[in-house]
Symmetry: C2
Subunit: 233 residues, 2 copies
């Protein structure tokens, strides 16, 4: 067994991605397309769930540092909200000098580079990433991103994403919720969990969906069909 | 960077253990020794928490298969409930033929070998471990245990441990709870979570303590002081 005493991080990452992609697909398949005006159907006890695996959003300047001048993202797979998982992946390094490999970049490109990790990832890397909404990067954690053509040392930009619910204006009205409001989300079953402090994010061009990270997905045991319920305080 | 593209599992395991040992220590230190008759102090909103990292309980027959004839466990560290973490570790293999290394054995020895994993571990190994109370192993998952001197192929014995609360008779009476009853446990803070279906385990010679696994600890963000509250339905 001595020849197999180190586990390749590529293999590990691939497994995790496959499992969670399958989970996302399972959850998304019975969706009711609630954002279409002519087909407004919501079952408040069965909200679609997306599990976010650790990922990076990238700006034009940084993608060129990491992948070379003129580099672009190449979509591999369209995601539930219309953005995409890119073919391009990077590695991450924190103060413990341990490498987290094959971290997927999500596109399209943004104005600013941002790294989103689960708590388990932050422990592994030794990064003290704060719990934040996407885009709220002031005084967030520094992290180093490794690409095939170069390195980006972010002074700040690494966060743990706060769990949140995307909904459009019509859906928000249906639930009686406002943008920025905090609700609870309950996942049933033997591992039943209620997550407090789930942020409501109201905007157009989104589909109703609860976003959890991999730690939250694992604890709630969301790989089979579960009732996912929004609870207002 | 090519020389560091695979992460050594020993290092990973060591980090995780260090972090969680620190977490356990932090949580356990302000304890009030509630099981002593002359010092019966319980704050129901501040119950001590122990985070169980993946581990193995082992029987005499299997320790000899894994470590050689006459092998014994050597205590490395006494745990909160009086049992111990042994010096001895094993590796685990599931149907995906991926190796989870340096999994700690907890002593003393038991009548039957049992492997307790978090959901994240079961995804990595590809083991379909059911959610069970310790000792309830009928039709639980098969798993292969690797030791320096041999291999044990368990036909059943691998579980995900149901979260539970240890308490003695006096504490159970204080809370109005019975052995086997299910309660909710709430962890406050920005990542506030309520765990349903936490099993009350009443017995003598235990100290009041909530047992969560690493996935649950990470989601609840229990590495700083948090109020841990029992909620009766």
């Amino acid at each position: 067994m001595n020849n197999t005493r180190s586990i390749d991080q590529d293999v590990l990452e691939q497994i995790i991605r496959e499992v969670f992609e399958k989970m996302n697909t399972t959850q998304a398949s019975p969706r009711t397309e609630p954002s279409k005006d002519n087909d407004f159907t919501i079952d408040p006890q069965r909200i679609p769930v997306g599990i976010s695996v650790r990922h990076v959003h990238i700006c034009k300047e940084d993608i060129e540092k990491l992948f070379g001048p003129g580099a672009e993202l190449h979509p591999e797979r369209t995601l539930y909200q219309g953005d995409f998982a890119a073919n391009e992946t990077v590695s991450l390094i924190g103060p413990k000098m341990r490498l987290l490999e094959r971290v997927r970049i999500l596109g399209p490109m943004r104005d600013r580079t941002q790294v989103e990790l689960a708590k388990t990832d932050t422990i592994f890397l030794g990064v003290d990433a704060p719990l934040r909404m996407s885009g709220d990067l002031k005084d967030s954690a520094p992290i180093t991103i490794i690409g095939p053509k170069g390195v980006v040392e972010l002074k700040e930009g690494c966060i743990r994403a706060m769990r949140h619910i995307h909904m459009n204006t019509k859906e928000a009205k249906y639930f009686g919720l406002k943008d920025g409001e905090l609700v609870k989300v309950r996942v049933g079953g033997p591992s039943a969990v209620t997550f407090d402090n789930v942020v409501v994010r109201v905007s157009d061009n989104v589909r109703l969906q609860i976003h959890l990270d991999t730690d939250e997905g694992n604890v709630a045991d969301i790989n089979c069909k579960r009732e996912i319920e929004i609870i207002k305080d």
